[in-house]
Amino acid sequence: MARVCVAGAGVIGSLFAAHLARVAEVSALTRREEHAEALRTHGLRVSGRADFTARLAAATSPDDLEPPDLVILACKGTDLDAVAARLAGHWPGALVMTVQNGIGADEVVARHGDWRILAAVTFMSGTRHEDTHVQYVLDTATWIGPARGTTYADAQSVAELIVSSGLKAEAFEDLRPAQWSKLIFNATVNTVAALTGLPHDPHFAALERPDDLGHLVRGLMDEGKAVAGAAGVELGEDPWEMNVLATRRGSAHYPSMLEDVEAHRRTEIDMITGALVREAHRVGVPVPLHETMERLIKAKEDSWS
């Protein structure tokens, strides 16, 4: 039986940990001791699209956990550097998979150790009700591809493990098309939601009046597509179509950046819009709209610090 450690037990980490615990020996690496203790004592409950409680090991230090075969780094992008630093020097044989929004997570992790690395983007979502209870909301897939020292076969075996646990996953030879589609989608939808306070709803696709938000959303996505094109990345799904489709689903989704802003937490702006803007500068494509969004979000973070 495979041994998996999920580092960071927020929504995404909890969903992975609980499901995988049905087919693997799972541990959770948490930041807070009371979180680890609660997980050890009560297990981890999943509601919503599934309904079960998983048993798993949990600790705040990698020293207290059995060396895993697979580490899923599921913390927020803003915490990734710190979490990877805590893993430095541990579990040299493990395969490490990043699932953060944006691009460049694998490079952040690579700075802290020689692990073999897989990169993933996940489209599943949920709501965390307490340390030991997560609600599974959107059962969309996690896409996995090779990053450093890994192959398509590695991605496939992890995808199979995840699928066997009841979640959706798919392996790709090259993750970049999917990663970039999601990057452009997130850089647009998350920042617009965080600045307006609107969840991802039909306003984002409205194009009738000159002040409708759809124009801005499309403008941001067009800038992103131009960057991807100049960087030689052929996109997977079209971000605008992802947007239109998502706003038609009926249930308004609260992007994580909007939740961060409402809770006065630091956002993932650097790893999402920041990454896109850095790439744009590298390939020489102007992105004035994304620069505007980045400035406004950073200034907003400033207003509560």
Partner: protein
């Protein structure tokens, strides 16, 4: 002389209370906030902060109570102009009406209701802290001039300017008031929404180099739209932005649009960024930054 201030919010109150200190001016205030009206009638209209003034002002929420006036000073939020003038126009059948509101397009609305219109721009700012009490945050000048399409006689413009100045609100009468107005519109459109979207005061917006550059981008687009109409700005809005950021001026001032957003009130973005974007479109001048800001602030309003 009889003056009625239409919309006795922060700016309207500054005019009303100061004018009411003059013996030769009878001041009325028309406002829909009954608590504010009652407090003014009971205790006078009090200004604190940059100036300590208590003006004896007759306030009412019933337009029928307004006497026939020599002048109106319209200081409502821009989106309430039409309704306020529809209710009060009768009082100005023989008078002149000036706007000191933010944004572009207010004069056109006034001219639909009254004959003699005065274009105006004012810089003083403050906020209502309690019914009948206004904190005066920022002192500043006012410029008024005849509205080209439906002008008030220039000697009447001068007469109003003289009264305001004597009352403690320095006001200049000029033939073409478009320059100062566009300077302020550009200033407001380049700074207010940045405060509203980020929650930062004017000074804190300006001390972030990235936001300050965004403000400059908005200024440049606005200047291009003004130039395309042959409007000569009386001075550079950039200077105004830096001046206002000084600690002794308006560093800690929350832009009215930020106050609106915090109170979940409709903002004036349609008359600021929307106004500039609208004129830009008509004149073929691109305004992508104003369009972005306009859409974001409308999104904020839609989120309530």
């Amino acid at each position: 002389m009889v003056v009625a201030v239409i919309g006795c919010g922060a700016v309207g109150s500054l005019f009303a209370a100061n004018l009411a200190t003059l013996d030769d001016v009878e001041v009325w205030a028309y406002d829909l906030a009954q608590e504010h009206v009652d407090a003014i009638n009971r205790d006078g209209l009090k200004l604190t902060g940059a100036g300590e003034v208590t003006g004896r002002v007759r306030a009412t929420s019933d337009a029928a109570e307004l006497p026939s006036c020599d002048f109106g000073i319209v200081a409502t939020k821009a989106m309430h102009t039409d309704a306020a003038l529809a209710a009060t126009a009768r009082a100005f059948a023989d008078g002149c009406v000036a706007t000191v509101q933010n944004g572009i397009g207010n004069e056109e609305v006034l001219a639909r209701h009254v004959e003699r219109v005065i274009r105006g721009t004012t810089f003083p700012a403050g906020k209502i802290t309690a019914p009948g009490v206004v904190q005066w945050d920022v002192k500043g000048d006012t410029t008024i001039g005849p509205f080209e399409d439906s002008p008030a006689p220039f000697e009447q413009v001068e007469r109003l300017a003289d009264a305001c100045t004597r009352g403690g609100m320095p006001t200049k009468a000029v033939q073409d008031a478009r320059g100062p107005q566009w300077r302020k519109v550009i200033f407001n459109a380049a700074t207010n929404p940045l405060g509203a979207l980020t929650g930062l005061t004017h000074g804190r917006v300006c001390e972030r180099p990235d936001l300050r550059r965004l403000a400059s981008q908005l200024v440049d687009e606005g200047k291009a739209v003004a130039a395309a109409q042959g409007i000569v700005l009386d001075s550079d809005p950039e200077e105004l932005i830096d001046y206002a950021a000084r600690p002794e001026v308006a560093y800690g001032h929350k832009a009215s649009m930020l106050q609106d957003v915090e109170a979940r009130r409709q903002t004036e973005v349609d008359y600021l960024n929307g106004g500039i974007a609208g004129f830009g479109k008509k004149l073929g001048v691109p305004t992508p930054a104003h369009e972005t800001i306009w859409a974001l602030v409308k999104g904020v309003e839609a989120s309530w």
